[in-house]
């Protein structure tokens, strides 16, 4: 006779928080033990009821605006009020004579920084592209495509949210020949990211998502026979990789981008 289970364990069981061994053991017991089954169902029922009906208090718009303002860069110093040149002492007027030159130095400095940033960014994108391909290949080789296998995005989204510090969009693609296989968590760009896995025809498509600032249009690259696309929107950075044909790849990428929009 198996030992009596206490409510703590049952609660941890329905939360999926027991170690794998105990988790499987209880699942096996559930098959035969009707009393235990009722208890587990009662607990799950209660959890469902709370999740479905308890108020979720989203931040009011006014609060959000106030806090976003906290995070806004401080307003730049107010421009000096224009005055007639005669109001200025001679030294200041002489300084102002240098102004065009100073301004051109300023512009040059800004351009140099921008160019450096652009080069840095493209170097970063290339490195990231390598990481994305590596993850795709690893997952395909080891046949470990998904941690949570489900064609239902309502199952996959909470699973991912519970394991990440953000809630990734999990779009359903309404494309012919496309199947949603599920999701997994991977480590990319120095942080845990969500990976959504689709099958397009005979090919696997991996779609990576993590929070990132800025907005950028979709950029397509091909490396070593893989097609890559990346873009940022709505606070999320997306990278998609696959070895499908370029045409199909573009279709899938746009479907992911548009589905994301409607979520």
């Amino acid at each position: 006779m198996a030992p009596e289970l206490d409510t703590r364990q049952l609660n941890a069981f329905i939360d999926g928080e027991l170690d794998l061994h105990s988790q499987l053991e209880i699942e096996a017991r559930l098959v035969h033990d009707a009393g235990l089954r009722t208890q587990v169902e009662a607990l799950r029922g209660l959890r469902q009821v709370v999740m479905r009906h308890a108020d979720y208090h989203a931040a009011p718009a006014a609060l959000r605006a106030r806090i976003e303002a906290l995070g806004a860069p401080p307003a730049s110093a107010p421009a000096p009020t224009p005055r007639g040149p005669s109001a200025w002492p001679a030294a200041v007027q002489r300084w102002f004579a240098w102004r065009p030159l100073v301004a051109s130095f300023g512009v040059l400095a800004v351009l140099t920084v921008a160019l450096n940033l652009a080069l840095l960014q493209s170097g970063r994108d290339e490195a990231l592209g390598q990481e994305v391909i590596a993850s795709h290949v690893r997952a395909t080789l080891t046949q470990h495509l998904v941690d949570v296998a489900s064609s239902d995005h309502h199952t996959v989204k909470p699973w991912l949210s519970a394991r990440l510090d953000f809630s990734p969009p999990v779009p359903e693609l309404n494309l012919p020949g496309s199947t949603f296989l599920g999701g997994r968590v991977d480590y990319l760009d120095g942080r845990p990211v969500a990976v959504l896995v689709y099958r397009q025809g005979a090919h696997i498509v991996n779609s990576f998502v993590w929070p990132g600032a800025g907005d950028s249009r979709i950029a397509f690259v091909s490396q070593r026979g893989f097609h890559l696309a990346h873009w940022s929107r709505g606070g999320m950075t997306h990278w998609v990789v696959s070895d499908v044909s370029p045409d199909e790849f573009a279709t899938v990428v746009h479907a992911i981008d548009h589905a994301d929009e409607s979520h």
Partner: protein, 190 residues
């Protein structure tokens, strides 16, 4: 550059989890205005504490600050609600395992929105917070442990007890006679 780094961090770490922050503060203070004040205060603290953020689990880190701010606020404004909480290792044992009879399960399942909100709001704060973080934010135990500053084992016991108490409250609420719970709610918590 540090200032703009901080602003960027603020955008990435704090803003995306503003709903979670407000939801937690709202359930802990049980009042809209107080929750807004707390979240705003917590945001300013977060900006000061970016140095202490080690780059993992932004949401847990940020909710930890929100919770801490809530407690500080409650201690000052409603000290009675945050008396040192000692639930003992075995408090969860006092509640029977979920009764395995169908009518009870149905009563719980049929509880309506108002009943559920009342029942959660009436839970002692230490149980309320783990329940809200688990059921409404869907956080794993280790994150809840970090946010509530308790060991994972305590998360387990408190959650078991929170659900037990909630279940009891819903069963009573389902009966025609509404008791103390009903009296204290209409005006909101003062």
């Amino acid at each position: 550059m540090t200032e703009s780094d901080d602003l960027r961090r603020f955008e990435i770490l704090v803003i995306p989890h503003l709903d979670a922050a407000y939801n937690l503060a709202r359930w802990l203070t049980r009042n809209d205005q107080d929750a807004q004040d707390v979240v705003q205060d917590a945001s300013m603290r977060a900006m000061r504490y970016f140095g202490g953020f080690r780059g993992d689990q932004a949401r847990a880190w940020w909710l930890q600050i929100v919770r801490h701010t809530c407690y500080a606020w409650l201690k000052e404004n409603r000290p009675a609600e945050v008396v040192a909480f000692d639930d003992g290792e075995d408090a969860w044992r006092e509640l029977a395992a979920p009764a395995a009879d169908e009518p009870h399960a149905i009563a719980v399942r049929n509880a309506d929105r108002a009943q559920i909100n009342q029942a959660i709001a009436a839970l002692p704060i230490a149980y309320r917070e783990v329940l809200v973080l688990r059921e409404l934010e869907d956080l794993p135990y280790k994150d809840i442990a970090r946010i509530a500053d308790i060991p994972v084992g305590t998360v387990m016991s408190r959650l078991a007890r929170a659900r037990g108490l909630l279940r009891q409250a819903l069963l009573h609420g389902a009966r025609p006679v509404l008791r103390t719970v009903a009296r204290s709610t209409p005006g909101g918590v003062k």
